[in-house]
Amino acid sequence: MSARAPRPREEILLSIGGLVAHIELSGAQPVFMEQLRARYGAFEMPAAPWVERDISLRLTVESATPPGDPGRRAHIDAHPLAVNASARTIAAERWDFSVKLTAESGRAARTSYRGSGRCEMNPFALDCMLRVLFSTVLPRLGGMLIHGCGLRNAEVGVVFPGRSGAGKTTLARKTPDPDDVLSDELVVVRRSDDGTWRVHGTPFWGDFARGGISMRSWPLRTVAFLAQAPRDAVTMTPIVSSDATLRLLGCFLSFATDRATVERNLAIAVQLCAEVRSVEASLTKNVPTAEIFRKLAPHLGPEVTRKAPPQSAREMISEFRSFLRKHKSYAFKPKGSSMRPWLKTGDSLFIQAAPETELAAGDILLYWSPGATPDEDALTCHRMVARVPGARGNAPRFMTKGDAMSRIESFENRRECEILGKVAAISRDGKTWPVPGRIGNLARLFGSLVAIPILRMAGR
């Protein structure tokens, strides 16, 4: 009898609408993880153990039953989606997944949910499970998943709630820049720390088949309820908050029907509709997006183009990563003094996306160092010292160092930190030049390592 091979264990840390979920997947095959990363990549962050999590879930991934299996239809009919939520537990099950989470009190009275379950090795099963969990936990944090199309317009966000067939995907498809689409199916709306409402993109998409490009959220200026116009014209009719609340509740994604959940959802919907403008957007599929926003402009307020900074460092870094993924290179202005004298105040760096295998000692890396909270995340720009093979089959570790620092840092890429790219060129005093080759970089690196003890001795 041969010993059974250990089940591979993978993990993914997602931040969607500011809600952080860590999912450990036991038994997931690499192809399944690739599918998940393709879908949730814009919302994935380094799975460092010190990042505060709202949801921690251990999933056993099981092989999916083939669609043609004769017993599958009966199994599906016998196990429709069922969600039971109480103050302490959240349980959800369907024919292809089953999870149970329990509330735990953390530091500063922060509640998180920890649990386990099983899920078919099928992206649709996991996606449904995530939608259920996020729609159940978000209202407990003052947010909600709205069945609607979210669009970014300049520096603000607009949500177009609507049920199936209302035109959400059509609206997304018409948008000139698909990166402005936060989702054509479900967006997160949540009150921020400063009391204002913001809309976040999600990876929960509909027929548009792509979601938001980053964790970045935008100030929510208007909720525009979709309605069919009798002819090719667009009208925006302001609606009172009670009517808006009524309509919003019809688009508030919620699977739990217990009294506490419904009361919570109702209170959030009432608050949102009392504080954010609402209109009925009556339009047809032929109306261009530019015309829709032209008519919407009076309802967006005067501050549409006022620069809205990212809500947190995490949002800023995630957005920077999306630019880098899209353009392959992007400019970055570093702060701090850890790379002096190589870097000076006011320098701009041109970062180039680079696969992990192409990185070598001497390269200057830009990487995402996650903190416990979104505001504690940081972008670090340090020189790579070495890449050390991981022990016992573990992933390799990257050693880095700031030129002006003596301490060498070490991390596992994509787990403790995430390497976004390497510096390809530097711009100083209006001139730009490529970063010297690796030999020059290495000489600088070792020079720095030697120089620091001498300087310390001289200073005594």
Binding site: S242, D243, T245, L246, L249, R259, V262, L266, A267, V270
Partner: protein, 90 residues
Amino acid sequence: MSAWRRDAELPFQKLAEETIVVDPRRREVHLLNETAARIWELLASPQSLDELTATLGDEYDVGESELREAVAECVAGLEGKGLLVAAGTR
């Protein structure tokens, strides 16, 4: 005389004038206008048609028969939507 009270299981939220009532079992949401919201408020405790009419008669400047007819219509409407439960006779 028959009496009713509002279904205590239904979450609701009072707005400035109106009230929103959610029925999770039927997955329905109801927006009650000012008058219906006042009746909903009174039906926190069991009330007969006479009692409701007497209370509202002090608040609204309208004839008793007209008021009684309007209240009966509203109560029937709320009952028809499953928002009220029978509370015996009074």
